[in-house]
């Protein structure tokens, strides 16, 4: 069995143990990236500098002293003890999927993988689930991986409307230190509302990565028969003739995605769109590249 198959959401759906799933995906993914330029970003050695009085003598590289008879101190590139918070939208609209997995399932896999991956980097991991308000909070901690995975495993869609402003404001208020915040949502909010909500996190100097999950049916509206369309959250119904609305719908979705990218990017928020029918590696790769960049700029 190849590793790539484990990145397929349909295959992942067969693995009930979320930790096993995350480990399988991440380990396989990392080994697959053996020669990638993103290797060793957090604990890697950066440079030597001359010892200065006051430096911790435990950081003196004694091997260099033995060869050169001079004291040098090791410098590393990044902080390896960052707070990693998953902010997971569990509103009813996430419980939708036209294929093997729903957006919620996909987000669950993604969140588990990212939590596991971050823990490997010795980050403190936590999770917040929300709909129109906060649902569950696991504060970031080096010992909370199991709790995070357990929380992810217990996520059930709530029959409540979603919203970003209120929950994200509360999340921002709860953060005590600078964190890496990964927001997983379908972003059924106007782009300016989204930008405003994420602004709470940015104001806390958090690095925010927004994963926008959409099902292929939400992107293409491939329905054929005219029907009453019911909103999963509001239960509102409207008559829809998909064949007639399809083009306009696609245009509006594309416009929404572009607007999100255009508004969040300049605000320092990393926006990444994910089609839940696509393998997880795209999302993981994007996270790794982003994390690498964050390590360098810090």
């Amino acid at each position: 069995m190849t590793t790539a198959r484990f990145l397929d959401p349909a295959v992942l759906a067969r693995i009930s143990n979320l930790e096993l799933l995350a480990r399988t995906v991440v380990d396989g993914f990392i080994s697959g990236l053996h020669h990638a330029p993103y290797l060793g970003f957090s604990l890697d050695f950066a440079e030597h500098r001359a010892y200065m009085p006051g430096d911790d003598i435990r950081r003196i590289d004694w091997r260099v002293f033995g060869r050169t008879d001079r004291l040098y101190v090791k410098e590393f590139e990044a902080d390896t003890n960052a707070n990693f918070s998953l902010v997971f939208d569990v509103s009813r609209s996430m419980d939708y999927g036209s294929g093997a997995v729903t957006k919620l399932d996909y987000g669950r896999y993604l969140a588990a993988c990212l939590a596991y991956f971050s823990r490997r980097q010795r980050d403190r991991v936590g999770i917040v689930t929300f709909d129109e308000d906060l649902v569950e909070i696991v504060p970031p901690s080096a010992k909370h991986l199991d709790m995070v995975l357990h929380t992810i495993d217990r996520i059930v869609p709530r029959d409540r409307r979603g919203g970003l402003d209120r929950p994200l404001r509360k999340v921002a208020e709860s953060l005590r230190r600078r964190s890496i915040v990964v927001l997983i949502s379908d972003f059924y909010e106007p782009p300016e509302v989204t930008q405003h909500a994420l602004g709470y996190l940015r104001n806390k100097q958090c690095d925010v990565i927004a994963f926008h999950l959409l099902d292929p049916s939400e992107i293409d509206l491939p329905f054929d028969e005219a029907a009453q369309f019911e909103d999963l959250e509001t239960h509102e119904r409207i008559p829809v003739v998909p064949a007639e609305l399809r083009a306009e719908y696609r245009r509006l979705v594309a416009l929404h995605r572009r607007a999100l990218a255009d508004t969040l990017g300049p605000a320092g928020i990393d926006y990444y769109f994910i089609d839940v029918s696509q393998p997880l590696d795209h999302a993981l790769l994007h996270y790794l590249s982003r994390r690498s960049w964050l390590s360098r700029v810090r």
């Binding site: 054929d224 909103d231 609305l245």
Partner: protein, 685 residues
């Protein structure tokens, strides 16, 4: 090459195409709502009603429409008119016309069964590409089938047929066969004649022949021998009323057409089913003898009778049926001048000698005449008397207007001055001045209207010579425009004229009927002239005692029936002859027919029909000689053409079988459509 349809009405099924159009245009809503994460974007799009929808699933739509169209096309049985198709498949096909003799002589012995067997043999010998048409003929020819190679059709058509009462005449059959074969483009054209080949049925030398290239094959169903045959050829009937009984005298002409002398056999006169007279007669072979039979019958009764001889090998001509009508004399009223003396002698004698029918003559001086005898008469003769005025004149006018016949004879006694106004109105003009041609030794009647029914019996040579009569005096008669001049003298003066008056007829004779102004009364033609004039004025139309098989019943025969006429055949079958039925009918079956109005029996009229006496001549001709009389003059000439054009549309369609391919295509389309529809359904859900 063109496409045509055998059952184009099935194209109406194309209307079913409206169903997929409706289905594809009407976007039906699913009953179950589609649960969707968010309607945020859908709400922003203006709502559109289904009326603005276009056809969706073009592929499915086209498949469904195509399947329906092909289905309708398959049921309409398409065929291609391709000339090359037939000729390439069927290079030496035969177009066979079977001429089946169904004349009365075919009823002799087992001739008819042998003939139907011969038809079956010809049908069985047809190849795949051959076609045959069955024509039955006697004195007329009728095609019983279309071109076919179906053995069953030909056999059943022949089996349903029986010998008729007509005589053999090959001419009409040859003409019909020629009309069918001439446009035929079959490579081989053949005529099979199945007959007993009577000599009398041979085609005449100047008759039509079969088209060039046609082959004639003969099938002789006679056994080559002439059977014993005594026939009753004709019967002359004379019915004379005497006291309380009528005496009927039937003079029959018997012929022995067989090869042997007959032993003395009884000849019977049968009236209303009872033998009323019998006579024994012996006939040598080939001889004809008259036989007279007499019987007394009740007066005033119509009787159906026959003269018959003992049955022989050809029983169809052993009896001659007839309808014996009662004596019905014509009532004639002669109004004369009391001073005329012997002037009316010739007219009276001539009227008294009438026999067929007799005249019931009443002679009255005009001074003693009244309206009563006029009303009883069918014909009134004003013999050299002025047209009366007053009530008598009006009665005469009414009589003529009502359909009576008035014969006005201008004579020496009364000229123009004596005519009343009623007379002028009736005759159209007064008698004019006297023309005296004594000095010129008299004139003659030179111009006679022989086409007129009155003079028609004199049209033939030696049937009446009017030119021998000399006319010394006559009166000028200026006939009105609505009158017809039937005869003129040699100076152009009118001798006899007719004027229609209402429903009646007025005939004016300008030269008197006494042997004084002319010598016509002493000429032989005088008697028939007077009789014909009276018959014409009385509209006398004798009903024939019998008709020959093949006669047409219609027109005047049916007009005499009040209500809807129904004809009952000798075998009991009935035919309505008005709405929904034929307006004329051929009496082709010997026997006694009954014509009546629907639902009534009072006005029933019997019609006796006998076989054509010529058909009794069973002498056999040479089949090869008869066939050569039908065959084309240039038998070597051949024409070859494209067979396909000669095939009937049904045959072409059956041969091509395009509907099978269309149905197969429909099946394939249905399978593809099913797959596409399921796929589309999954997408929709």
């Amino acid at each position: 090459m063109g496409l045509s349809l055998l059952a184009p009405l099935f194209l109406a099924g194309l209307a079913a195409i409206a169903v997929p159009i409706y289905v594809h245009l009407t976007h039906r809503e699913r009953r179950e709502p589609v649960r969707f994460p968010s309607l945020m974007f859908l709400r922003r799009i203006p709502f559109r009603t289904t009326k603005k929808q276009r056809i969706r699933h073009w592929g499915l739509f086209v498949l469904r429409v195509l399947a329906l169209a092909l289905l309708a096309a398959a049921f309409s049985r398409p065929l291609l008119d391709r000339g090359s198709l037939g000729i390439s498949v069927l290079g030496s096909a035969r177009d066979v016309v079977i001429l089946l003799d169904r004349s009365l002589s075919m009823s002799v012995g087992d001739r008819w069964s042998r003939a139907t067997d011969a038809v079956a043999d010809v049908a069985a010998g047809l190849g795949e590409a051959d076609r045959a048409t069955l024509i039955a003929y006697a004195e007329r020819a009728v095609a019983l089938t279309e071109r076919t190679n179906d053995v069953g059709t030909l056999r059943s058509a022949a089996a349903m047929l029986r010998p008729g009462g007509g005589r053999t005449s090959a001419g009409p059959a040859v003409r019909l066969a020629r009309d069918m074969l001439d446009p035929s483009e079959f490579p081989v054209r053949e005529v099979v004649v199945i007959s007993d080949f009577q000599e009398i049925g041979a085609p005449q030398p100047d008759e039509d022949r079969l088209p060039a290239g046609a082959i004639v094959t003969v099938v002789d169903v006679s056994d080559g021998t002439e059977p014993a045959n005594v026939s009753v050829d004709v019967v002359e009937l004379d019915r004379v009323s005497s006291n309380a009984r009528d005496r009927v005298t039937a003079t029959a002409r018997l012929s022995n057409r067989g090869p042997a002398v007959t032993t003395p056999a009884s000849v019977e006169l049968v009236l209303d089913g009872a033998v009323v007279a019998t006579q024994r007669v012996a006939l040598p072979a080939g001889e004809t003898r008259p036989v007279t039979l007499t019987a007394d019958v009740p007066p005033g009764r119509t009787m159906v009778g026959a003269v018959r001889v003992a049955a022989d090998a050809y029983p169809a001509d052993d009896a001659l049926r007839f309808v014996l009508e009662p004596v019905d004399p014509i009532a004639v009223l002669v109004l004369g001048d009391p001073q005329a003396g012997e002037d009316g002698l010739y007219l009276d004698r001539a009227l008294a000698l009438a026999e067929d029918p007799p005249f019931e003559v009443t002679s009255l001086p005009i001074a003693r005449a009244s309206a009563a005898p006029i009303g009883d008469a069918e014909v009134v003769v004003l013999n050299d008397v002025p047209y009366p005025g007053g009530a008598l004149g009006r009665a005469l006018a009414t009589f003529a207007q009502g359909g009576g016949g008035l014969w006005v004879v201008f004579g020496r006694r009364h000229g123009a001055e004596s005519w009343s106004a009623e007379g002028v109105a009736l005759a159209g003009s007064r008698p004019g001045s006297l023309v005296d041609r004594v000095a010129a030794a008299g004139g003659t009647m030179s111009i006679l209207h022989y086409d007129h029914p009155l003079f028609a019996p004199f049209a033939e040579p030696r049937s009446g010579d009017f030119s021998s009569a000399r006319f010394f005096r006559y009166r000028v008669h200026d006939v009105p425009e609505d009158a017809v001049v039937l005869a003129r003298f040699d100076d152009g003066s009118v001798a006899l004229s007719e004027r229609p008056v209402g429903a009646g007829r007025v005939v004016a004779w300008t030269a008197g009927l006494a042997n004084e102004w002319n010598d016509l009364p002493i000429k032989p033609v005088f008697l028939p002239f007077v009789h014909e004039t009276i018959r014409y004025l009385a509209r006398y139309q004798p009903e024939p005692a019998w008709r020959v098989a093949g006669s047409v019943l219609g027109g005047a025969d049916l007009a005499a029936i009040e209500g809807e006429p129904v004809l009952e055949r000798p075998d009991g079958r009935r035919t309505r002859l008005s709405d929904g039925g034929p307006d004329a009918l051929i009496l082709d079956e010997p026997g006694v027919y009954t014509l009546r109005s629907l639902g009534g029996r009072v006005d029933a009229r019997a019609i006796a029909v006998n076989a054509d006496p010529r058909e009794s001549d069973l002498r056999r001709g040479d089949p090869e000689e008869i066939a050569s009389g039908m065959a084309p003059i240039d038998p070597g000439a051949e024409r070859r053409g494209e067979l396909a054009a000669a095939l009937t549309p049904a045959e072409k369609e059956r041969r091509q079988g395009l509907w099978w391919y269309l149905l197969l295509t429909v099946l394939v389309l249905s399978i593809v459509e099913g797959g596409l529809a399921r796929r589309a359904g999954r997408v929709a859900r």
